[in-house]
């Protein structure tokens, strides 16, 4: 009885129980083997249910269980860190024909993964507000900021943030069809997802790439609301290091 055969039979209930597994009387193990099959399927399914609560809500509990069953057989965990299990879910959903009529699911899954990653990301101390307010305007425009490790951006052709929000918070209006980008920031220990304003994803991406505030504003395009996004980043403790031009 090698672990290879055991593993294959665990993940494929249509396979016979491996030879050499018995009860106390020496009879074939039968249902006793199913305990392990159920444990594996249930624990991985529970991990996915906890990790993707909004996807679960969108497709329904029963459907999600079946979906999880398909997913875990296609993508059993490769890491012992179950907190990050399901990284392949967006690609899996994007390529799952029965759900082709819900094309936004993959991006919602990306946002749920981003929230989980943010929760476990390295702690960082935000720059004090006084340091920022003491910067001269020219120094601020040429400053480069390091962003918090807990920050994530999810860009979508669909209203990813509105869909996530409508299924996470009670009493939120129904999403309207439009492209959206969401930002996940973590003031303290609880990640929060916000809707990014027009140009916001380009702006944040430029900061992440080490560009100055001025260059990032240029990339964000016309009509970009700099003060709104700075409010988000500062309020979320997302600016953690300042490099002034010398």
């Amino acid at each position: 009885m090698r672990q290879d055969a055991f593993t294959k039979a665990l993940l494929d209930p249509t396979l016979a129980v491996p030879e050499g597994l018995v009860d106390a009387q020496g009879r074939p193990a039968g249902r006793r083997f199913s305990v392990y099959r159920n444990n594996v399927a249930n624990s991985l399914t529970e991990g996915l249910e906890q990790g993707f609560p909004v996807i679960r809500k969108l497709v329904g509990d029963e459907y999600f269980k079946a979906l999880a069953g398909n997913f875990l057989r296609a993508h059993p965990p490769t890491s012992k860190l179950m907190m990050f299990y399901g990284a392949e879910m967006p690609a899996f959903l994007a390529d799952f024909p029965p759900l082709a009529h819900l094309p936004y699911l993959a991006d919602v899954a990306r946002l749920e993964l981003a929230l989980r990653e943010s929760y476990h990301a390295t702690d960082a101390t935000p720059i004090e507000v006084e340091v920022l307010s003491n910067l001269a305007p020219e120094a601020f425009i040429s400053a480069r900021f390091k962003l918090a490790p807990a920050l994530r951006v999810v860009v979508s052709r669909y209203p990813v943030w509105s869909i996530w929000q409508a299924n996470s918070v009670v009493g939120v209006p129904a999403p309207v069809m439009r492209p959206e980008a969401a930002i996940v920031i973590r003031p303290g220990y609880d990640p929060v997802a916000h809707l990014l304003p027009e140009g916001g994803a380009a702006f944040v991406g430029a900061l992440q790439a080490g560009q100055s505030i001025g260059a990032a504003v240029d990339l964000a395009g016309e009509g970009f609301d700099l003060s709104a996004i700075l409010g988000l980043l500062i309020g979320g403790g997302a600016l953690i290091e300042l490099n002034e031009e010398t």
């Binding site: 009885m1 090698r2 672990q3 290879d4 055991f6 593993t7 665990l10 030879e19 050499g20 597994l21 018995v22 009860d23 106390a24 009387q25 020496g26 009879r27 193990a29 039968g30 249902r31 006793r32 083997f33 305990v35 392990y36 444990n39 594996v40 624990s43 991985l44 991990g47 059993p76 965990p77 490769t78 890491s79 012992k80 860190l81 179950m82 907190m83 929760y119 476990h120 990301a121 390295t122 702690d123 490790p149 807990a150 973590r186 220990y189 609880d190």
Partner: protein
Amino acid sequence: MFDIAIKALPARPGVGYKPQHFKDILENPTPVKWLEIHAENYMGDGGRPLAQLRHLTERFAFSVHGVGLSIGGEDPLDEGHLARLKHLCDWLQPASFSEHLAWSGHDGMFLNDLLPLPYTAETITRVADHIDRVQEVLGRRMLLENPSSYLAFAGAEMPEVEFLREVARRTGCGLLLDVNNVFVSATNLNFDAAGYLSDFPTDLVGEVHLGGHAVDVDDHGAPLLIDSHGTEVVDPVWQLYAGLIAQTGPLATLIEWDNDVPDWSVLAAEAARAARILDLAA
């Protein structure tokens, strides 16, 4: 060999730590003296999980309990995972590290369950080699936990206690004695739990686990108990535990409750029941 003694945890009740109990534990820890965490849940880079541990470690002794090393695996140990474990232990400095006599992955896959091993000379060699490596990397002695068994292997060469004793002899590791697992395995595989405990090398036991199990039946209508960690400890397990402690004296004892986790008061009441039994033997 290692500077960590087998019996390094306080010989008092502990509980499996759940984040939802953070506030309650700090406000009303009685009678809990130490906490156990699943190592893998604290291998993120930061955030609340590690912040809570930083706080709790000022007040409680800790036991780090791994569920992912796959010590019985045919695959080589995952050195990357072992390095993460070392990082956690070096940071938290727990009184104890323990893992399971089981395997949990194969061919790069992690199955997130504790899977059974045939008790053979070949398995002893593999398990002992892996424990040697774990102890070498961590620089500390580990405890190895007896499993819950749902089936037997036709090719088994020895009873579980003999297997565990030999692994401990070869590696110098201590043992974690899960009394519920003994009761579950004894029921499922038709052996005498009290006899198992009287054979057990209790001088090597650094920690005891008590947990709840679920009840099912096999294909022939025989009881099939499943180690679920989702309910109170049952009376027959308390009786086995009381008999054990009467013989050994007080041992560090964990209430394990991982699924359908109850309010703190329920968990604390289970710990108080263990405390009364420990008091009688003190």
